[in-house]
Symmetry: C2
Subunit: 296 residues, 2 copies
């Protein structure tokens, strides 16, 4: 059975895990908790959790040990979407096929829901009993997620994105922005599966990191392509949003054809990096293929 | 020498620690890092760090082991001020005697600066080498700060605060809001000093917690009183802001005189709680007195 056939099972799994960690919608303050649940449980590809579970299969780590990290990373990702969609940022009305959090609730509640989801991620990493790792490994995981999310990671990438609106960037600057904005958390996701495995050979850890870097960048190129080629209905968010905000993207810097080629090349490089794992890496190889062929 | 005389030394100490943890203002993305530095290094009473150092003196924990927790809590506190001041929240223009972060920069940068400060707090707790505690204690500290900051702590309190604008609350509801909004992080601050001390008697831990609860609530009552009685210049923020937003406060619910009495009573209860520590608790007793007599 290929990983692709197990995706629906993992998708159900992560929904349950996310639901369990989110406070009940009637727990005070109810509006905040309702907004957190609305944003997190409103669909989404769950790519980062899937990357964690896929890396876990490749490394032989049981899924229950990865539920916590998967939920934590998805909380961080969702908080970043809520804040990026705010009127002062990208001002998006549509996300995952539904009104954005600040449209469904209000701006203040959306800001707080993002804040509370970010901290929930660290709470999960600090207390999830199923992770069954030594406290030192738990600390290391918290550190990785913090670095990937902070001012020199995801939040920094969003700041670079805002600063780039209306400017023309070179390819190197564009890549730097995306390595921060989406690459850092994707990379951290893959590596989280390997933390708490002190016996893992350095060669394999390096291979995973190389895979994650390539797949992360390929993801963003595909995202930029879909913003041009995709339909709003399939995307679940407004297509053409980058152009409307006059944001530099891979298609605007490289052209569409070259962007497609670059995404493909990165996919091949990601798969090549997996050689040390042999056939056990099929889940990660499949996800890399999915990343560059997805339609939303 | 009393704790009061050591406050200037601790104030210099925490400024240095905060400065060291904040990314340099020219490190990319520079605007984000400048905003983080502006907000954190813009003065402030540093009450939470002082509570941590004072609790450390009471318990015999060296200050260098508490620099990390003190910085982490102040990062969280500052992020909450940045977000609470936003136009969609309390819409304040003045904070710590200067333009608020979104006035000095812009709303998007202020949102991201808050986000990045929150995650920096967890990074500090995860990696500060001076803390010299076992990884399990580090995890426990991260968990405490996460609980105190999240949707059932500080962020939840801010949501309750927003929901209360224009409503008339009873005393119990008002207290519940403040126990979340300011009480949770103050309580966590005091208890952080005691984490990593497995030998501490339960009686003393309970006493510290009781002190922290009383001092935290007294702090908020004093805050509400100052919003009525204080001058904008001394406060460093707009006085009368609560009334302008039609927010329920202790003076609006209890009247000014009764609010003063309640703050005093809580101060006495806080000091009474310190009995098990004897004279070693002078720093915490002094801070409690300061909390109910301060003019900003």
């Amino acid at each position: 059975m290929s990983f692709r056939e197990r995706v629906p099972e993992y998708s159900r799994r992560i929904e349950k895990v996310l639901d369990r960690w989110l406070p009940a919608a009637d727990k005070p303050p109810p509006r905040l908790h309702a907004a957190m649940r609305y944003a997190v449980l409103g669909g989404g590809k769950r790519l980062r959790p899937l990357l964690i579970y896929a890396a876990g299969e490749t490394l032989g780590v049981p899924a229950e040990r990865l539920d916590g990290p998967a939920a934590a990373v998805e909380m961080i990702h969702t908080y970043s979407l809520i804040h990026d969609d705010l009127p002062a940022m990208d001002n998006d009305d549509l996300r995952r096929g539904r009104p954005t959090c600040h449209k469904a609730f209000d701006v203040a509640t959306a800001i707080l829901a993002g804040d509370a989801l970010q901290v929930l991620a660290f709470l999960i990493l600090a207390e999830d009993p199923s992770m069954t790792v030594l406290p030192a490994a738990r600390v290391e995981m918290i550190r990785s997620v913090a670095v990937a999310s902070g001012s020199t990671g995801m939040a920094g990438g969003q700041a670079m994105d805002l600063a780039a609106a209306g400017k023309s960037l070179g390819l190197a600057e564009l890549e730097l922005m995306h390595i921060h904005k989406t690459g850092a958390l994707i990379r951290a996701s893959v590596l989280l599966a390997a933390q708490g495995l002190p016996g893992l050979a350095v060669e394999k850890r390096t291979a995973l990191d190389r895979y994650a870097k390539c797949a992360g960048l390929a993801f963003q190129i595909r995202d930029d392509i879909l913003d041009v080629e995709g339909e709003t209905t399939a995307l679940g968010k407004q297509s053409g949003a980058d152009a409307a905000l006059n944001k530099p993207t891979y298609p605007s810097v490289l052209g569409l054809e070259e962007s497609h080629r670059r995404a493909r090349d990165l996919h091949h490089a990601a798969v090549d990096a997996l050689v040390p794992f042999g056939e056990a890496a099929e889940p990660l190889a499949w996800l890399s293929e999915y990343i560059v062929t997805r339609s939303n």
